[in-house]
């Protein structure tokens, strides 16, 4: 089947019920998207599907009907997305394992809601667990990213 990931069209030979998460990680080698629970509870696998934040462990490959963006497609170490730049400046990460998902959820929020309230930040990132407890810094980084994006 055909799948557009980070702007590149791929022909992948996978079972239609294989979760997008594993297509990304094991077939396409895009390991920035993480496995945490496999049941849509932790958000470590969050990617954008047609611009919307989704948990890729809950999307079957056969149901992928829009372009996919992963953390690798959002920005790079040399050219980070403003959300990633805010994450770096705030030094959010501890183990960092959940942060791809946090960043993808935050980027989707800010694309739609450029100046989110605390409640909107909370709603948008509710689905993303952080075992290290970086929530205070995540909140600060989302606000900083909003400022960066507003300022252009």
């Amino acid at each position: 089947m055909k799948m557009t990931v980070n702007g590149v069209e791929h022909e992948v030979d996978v079972d239609p019920d294989m979760p997008l998460l594993w297509v990304l990680r094991d077939i396409l080698g895009l390991t920035g998207t993480k496995y945490g629970c496999g049941i849509g509870q932790c958000g470590a696998c969050t990617v954008h599907l047609g611009g919307r934040a989704v948990q890729s462990c809950q999307v079957a490959a056969g149901d992928v009907d829009a372009p996919v963006t992963t953390i690798e497609g959002l920005g790079t170490p040399q050219a980070p997305h403003p959300v990633q730049a805010a994450w770096i400046e705030t030094q959010v990460a501890q183990c960092g394992y959940c942060q791809s998902g946090q960043i993808m959820a935050a980027a989707a929020l800010l694309a739609e809601t450029p100046a989110p309230s605390d409640a909107q930040i909370g709603d948008a990132l509710w689905g993303n667990l952080c075992r290290c407890g970086t929530y205070p810094r995540i909140r600060a980084a989302v606000r900083l990213a909003a400022d960066k994006m507003k300022g252009g």
Binding site: R25, G36, T76, Q91, Y97, N128, G133, T134, R139
Partner: protein, 746 residues
């Protein structure tokens, strides 16, 4: 597998001899530095200066042997070396180095000794020295116990200074000038005439020099990195999805593996039927393990699906089946026969309580899972009689030994590469998942095998924080706490964990009472007794270990007594506290939180203080009882670590520790039915999520004489501060965790 067993025996003999040999070495050799593990087979053009610095044409690599599981170990180790070596932190590479005895952790043992951190007496100091000797003799390369910074602070700065001195000597000889005339800056030696020689070009000559015996360390006033906010070395990678963890390893021809082993731990396997799994697309092989099965397939998902399709007949567990029965076995340990320690016994507690107690209370805490977000994973690859392992681990030398013994390979037959971890919290102090990967790789000789545990496998095969029960009594008199008697029963983490590592844990297990017996309060009659409950479920160290439970017990009981006395929780703790740095911490948190100020109806503040891992840490939780439930508004934390090496990471670690403590206090619980955890995934094991997270204000104090680590100490006071705040706001005393069983949270 016959071959594996036969060879494994030889491996075992080698392993046993090496442990015995470690103990047989004399004091003289213990005082000698280790031969650098980097000295063997260095490729041409590569110089190793000390076991911590490697220089080749490509630049400087700093060896950071303590594992990074998120706590920032790699960055701080690199900063300690770079500071003294005069290299730019953003211009070096880091590498965990090979597992090696030279990288033993001298600071890992003291926390387990029966001396309080506040005890600087002769006996306590000699015991700590002896503990460091044991760690050295045994080559204990372990990351844990908040000991990375205490162990590394002098050692790695000295390594950096030594490497610098060797480079300066090499430069002095080449230029024919006195060493004292040379200065160093950003990886370059600079001569008085302005000549600049880079460390890279000096390294070959420096590598041939003997290490100087003595080196001077910088005055902290001259520090460039330490004590200031630093950018973590891994922060860009971790913000761009480019950090590679164990689960991300990939090699050409690699097989993807999943396992299912008996969740009734120790129950073994009677038999299995894998016919359905073997017929599934992408499945390469089903492998029988000791207590379960593994599947090798062409991707992780197919391995997960196939291993689920295997019908397995499990054997029964050798421990009680239900939560209730497990708690009964703990409750049954409050007997003289099971008495394990009485390390605190001041005044005459029996006399003080002769006329009855003003407070009598029983407290309970549950089993808890580590559940790092990256599940257990390991890559193993057998080829040409060699075994390569790539995995996140807190115990690389033990893991290497396990693999060597299992495979029956000689000492140099195993190469273990330690990888960054997506959290651990103590879980990767075990090497069960690495042993499984070795067995799977043996079955697929020639091809690399990456094992990934499903979350379900992870939750049902943890070595959890044990449940514990405490019984407290106390007396108050004239508005003061006069007597506190705390009895704690729990299974022994040390027994369970050390047993799996092949040691007998001798003497009392201080983990049963840590965070309770060793608190610096001068209560006139004061006793803490530990009771060792039978080993049931296999258990292990969980972030802050015994103090995670005992901080709750001690600080809730003390709070109840203070209220019974009609005293103020902060003022009375200050009055009782006999340790000046701890008083400073209490005063700081009082000032930060505006302690004593009016809060309004339905609101409350709770205070708790725990000294753990040598760090006095006090926390105030401020909350509101809303009509939707309890909402935690703010948390204030003051902690004393001797010196804050990186204020940003310090704050992040403290905030994370508080979230960890609060999250489990509110939600965390592993319950058992049919001898297995009922919580198999995160839908049944709730955790704090972002909207619940309060504002957390942190202050690090620097009054202590020793430098300490901050990974664990913020955890123990969080739960009791929250419970005490709920009491302050609602009048409800909750003595059992998780709190959500007794009260609703907004």
């Amino acid at each position: 597998m016959a071959g594996l067993g036969k060879i494994a025996r030889r491996g075992f003999l080698i392993g046993a001899a090496s442990v015995a040999g470690g103990f047989a070495v004399g004091v003289y050799s213990l005082r000698q530095p280790f031969v650098s593990p980097l000295a063997d087979d260095l490729p041409p053009g590569v110089a190793a200066l000390t076991p911590y610095v490697v220089i080749d044409a490509g630049g400087v690599t700093l060896i950071t042997p303590r594992a990074d599981m998120g706590q920032g170990a790699t960055s701080i180790q690199a900063a300690l070396i770079a500071e003294e070596m005069d290299v730019a932190l953003d211009a070096v590479r880091t590498d965990p180095g090979p597992p090696a005895a030279a990288y033993y952790n001298a600071a890992i043992v003291p926390e387990g000794l029966p001396f309080a951190a506040t005890d600087d007496g002769w006996l306590a100091e000699r015991a700590r020295d002896a503990g460091a000797m044991v760690a050295k003799a045994m080559g204990l390369q372990i990351t844990g116990g908040s000991s990375t910074v205490p162990d590394a602070f002098d050692r790695l700065r000295r390594a950096g200074a030594t490497a610098r001195a060797m480079l300066v000597t090499a430069a002095a000889r080449r230029l024919g000038v006195a060493e004292s005339a040379l200065r160093t800056e950003d990886g370059v030696v600079i001569a008085p005439d302005g000549t600049r020689l880079s460390y890279v070009e000096l390294a070959p000559a420096a590598g041939r020099l003997l290490e100087p015996r003595e080196v001077a360390l910088k005055d902290p006033a001259d520090w460039r990195y330490l004590g200031r906010p630093m950018q973590r070395i891994d922060i860009v990678a971790k913000s761009t999805g480019t950090q590679r963890y164990g689960i991300d390893e990939a090699l050409p021809g690699m097989l993807y593996a999943a396992v299912r082993t008996n969740p009734l731990r120790g129950g073994g396997m009677a038999g299995y039927d894998a016919s359905a799994a073997e017929a599934m697309r992408g499945v390469v092989r089903v492998v029988r393990l000791e207590d379960g099965v593994g599947v090798l397939a062409d991707n992780t998902w197919r391995a997960f699906e196939a291993v689920k399709a295997i019908r397995i007949d499990w054997g029964p567990a050798p421990y009680p089946a239900t939560t209730e029965a497990l708690f009964d076995s703990i409750a049954g340990a409050f007997t003289e026969d099971a008495r394990d320690s009485r390390l605190k016994d001041e005044g005459d507690i029996e006399a003080a309580l002769e006329d009855g107690a003003d407070v009598t209370a029983e407290y309970r805490v549950p089993f808890l899972a580590h559940a790092p977000l990256e599940p257990m994973t390991a890559l193993a690859w057998f080829r040409n009689g060699q075994l390569e392992i790539r995995a996140g681990t807190q115990i690389p030398r033990f893991a290497e030994k396990t693999a060597r013994e299992l495979a029956g390979l000689p000492k140099d037959g195993v190469v273990l590469r330690a990888l960054p971890m997506g959290g651990s919290f103590g879980r990767r102090l075990e090497d069960d998942y690495i042993a499984q990967a070795v067995r799977l790789a043996w079955a697929a000789e020639g091809r690399p095998v990456k094992l990934t545990w499903s979350r379900e496998e992870d939750m049902t095969h943890d070595f959890p924080r044990p449940a514990a029960i405490a019984r407290g009594r106390g007396r108050v008199s004239q508005g003061r706490v006069a007597a506190l008697d705390l009895s704690i029963a729990a299974p022994s983490v040390s027994d369970s964990q050390m047993g799996r590592l092949g040691f007998n844990a001798l003497g009392a297990d201080t983990a049963i009472v840590a965070g309770a017996w060793d608190q610096p309060f001068a209560i006139p009659a004061y006793r803490v007794t530990g009771y060792r409950a039978p080993e049931t479920v296999p258990i292990s160290s969980w972030r802050s270990v015994g103090a995670s439970a005992n901080g709750f017990f001690h600080e809730c009981l003390l709070d109840e007594l203070i209220h019974a006395a009609g005293a103020d929780p902060l003022a009375e703790r200050l009055r009782l506290c006999s340790h000046a740095p701890s008083r400073a911490v209490l005063e700081a948190v009082g000032e930060m939180s505006g302690w004593g100020g009016a809060l309004g109806p339905g609101r409350g503040r709770g205070l708790a203080y725990t000294l753990s891992f040598g760090v006095p840490c006090a926390e105030v939780v401020e909350l509101t009882a809303t009509d939707r439930g309890i909402r935690i508004d703010r948390v204030f934390v003051a902690a004393e670590v001797g010196r804050v090496l990186d204020p940003v990471n310090f704050e992040n670690q403290v905030q994370g520790g508080v979230v960890w403590g609060l999250s489990h206090a509110i939600h965390g619980e592993l319950t058992y039915a049919d001898s297995r955890p009922e919580q198999e995934n995160f839908d049944a094991y709730p955790m704090m999520r972002l909207p619940e997270c309060p504002e957390i204000t942190v202050r690090g104090l620097e009054n202590g004489e020793r430098i300490r680590g901050i990974g664990e100490p913020p955890v123990p006071p969080a739960a009791p501060a929250l419970a005490n705040a709920i009491f302050a706001a609602t009048g409800q005393r909750i003595r059992e965790l998780p709190l959500s069983k007794s009260v609703r949270f907004a």
